[in-house]
């Protein structure tokens, strides 16, 4: 029995797709990708435009300009990252072409590094934005403290709740994402070892 003959004489089981079917599938995939990108872009643009409008129309004092300036800067930073990511995602589609040239693990590492960078940038933008928002709210908090009618803690409860929830969410997300990245990089390293022709533990 020649293994090559055994292997090559297997019966085919999955029919080849027609060019038309392929085109339909690719069209659907591209449409999905485009929808996600458009959604992210629209949300970012609407938020940035809202913050700019507030900054231009309602903010006059230096302190408010600094705080809302931070909010606008954070929103702009996020918008820039979303645009950059969209372009990169479109380019990443080229893996199908690059697959003919490069190794998939190289692409996988590149994609992971890119994702990690993106998360770092977005986290930085979120910190700037929230710092600005806290600064913008602080005068109202100070005002409430100067006029302590009723229970000050109850009146300020929404502020503390939102701040606390944001902090908790930020901490939990950060921990989860870090854990996820550690797991993915560890797995990638294992695969890279497995893909080397002669791994060290191979006797």
């Amino acid at each position: 029995m020649n293994p090559k003959d055994i292997w090559q004489n297997q019966k085919s089981e999955n029919p080849a797709m027609s060019v038309q079917e392929i085109r339909e599938k690719v069209g659907k995939l591209r449409a999905k990708l485009r929808r996600e990108m458009v959604f992210n872009l629209v949300v970012s643009i609407v938020c940035t435009a809202f913050f700019i409008r507030v900054f231009v129309l309602y903010v006059h004092s230096v302190y408010d300009r600094i705080s809302w300036g931070l909010v606008v800067a954070g929103a702009f930073y996020m918008l820039g990252r979303v645009v950059y990511e969209s372009v990169q995602t479109m380019r990443a589609e080229r893996i199908y072409g690059d697959a003919g040239i490069s190794s998939c693990l190289r692409f996988y590492r590149w994609a992971l590094e890119r994702k990690r960078q993106h998360v770092r940038h977005m986290a930085f933008a979120a910190v700037v934005l929230v710092a600005g928002a806290i600064m913008a709210i602080l005068p109202a908090v100070a005002l409430a403290l100067q006029h302590p009618e009723g229970n000050i803690w109850i009146r300020l409860a929404p502020f503390w709740i939102i701040l606390g929830l944001w902090g908790l969410l930020y901490f939990l997300m950060r921990r989860r994402i870090r854990h996820e990245f550690r797991r993915e990089f560890a797995m990638l390293e294992t695969l890279e070892r497995e893909y080397s022709p002669f791994p060290q533990n191979d006797k």
């Binding site: 029995m1 020649n2 293994p3 090559k4 055994i6 292997w7 090559q8 004489n9 297997q10 085919s12 089981e13 999955n14 080849a16 797709m17 060019v19 392929i22 599938k25 690719v26 589609e93 080229r94 199908y96 072409g97 690059d98 697959a99 003919g100 040239i101 490069s102 190794s103 998939c104 693990l105 692409f107 996988y108 993915e184 797995m187 990638l188 695969l191 497995e194 893909y195 080397s196 022709p197 002669f198 791994p199």
Partner: protein, 174 residues
Amino acid sequence: VGQTERQDDLFREAIARYGAALDRLVRAYEADPDKRRDLSQEVQLAVWRSLERFEARCSLRTWIYRVAHNTASNYIVRQRRDGFSKLVTLEDVEASPDPTDHQGNVEEHIAIDRLLQLIHRLRPMDRQVMLLYLEDMDAESIGEITGISAGNVRVLIHRVKSILTRQFHEGRPT
């Protein structure tokens, strides 16, 4: 339009010439028939998309195999990332084809199963080399596809050959 027609023509040519080999490759990467159908479509999709950038700097065969192997490897990465482990239900077992249906080819089926069991157990790189060797490719072409030197490929092929000889000529169970 010309570029798209060229892409379509190349795809038709690739499937006509290497479709069966792609099918075998998919079988070597996925044991579950349903998932195999999905992977097969994924490979064909990747081949079609990649052909947009095919500039004939290497042979169509090498290009197709490289795309197919990378897509299949990517599939393995995803499976691992998702922590996928293959468990089948009793219904799946009942629905799987009855081996007695192939009485005429029992020996051949046993041999293919043994070969597939062996391939599924291999590390990805060894699996790629063995599959390409079984597809009758020489060390240079295998090196071009996998990205390892022809010298290293020869060493791996030597190992593959001795394993296959042990398994199929001396009749040892896998």
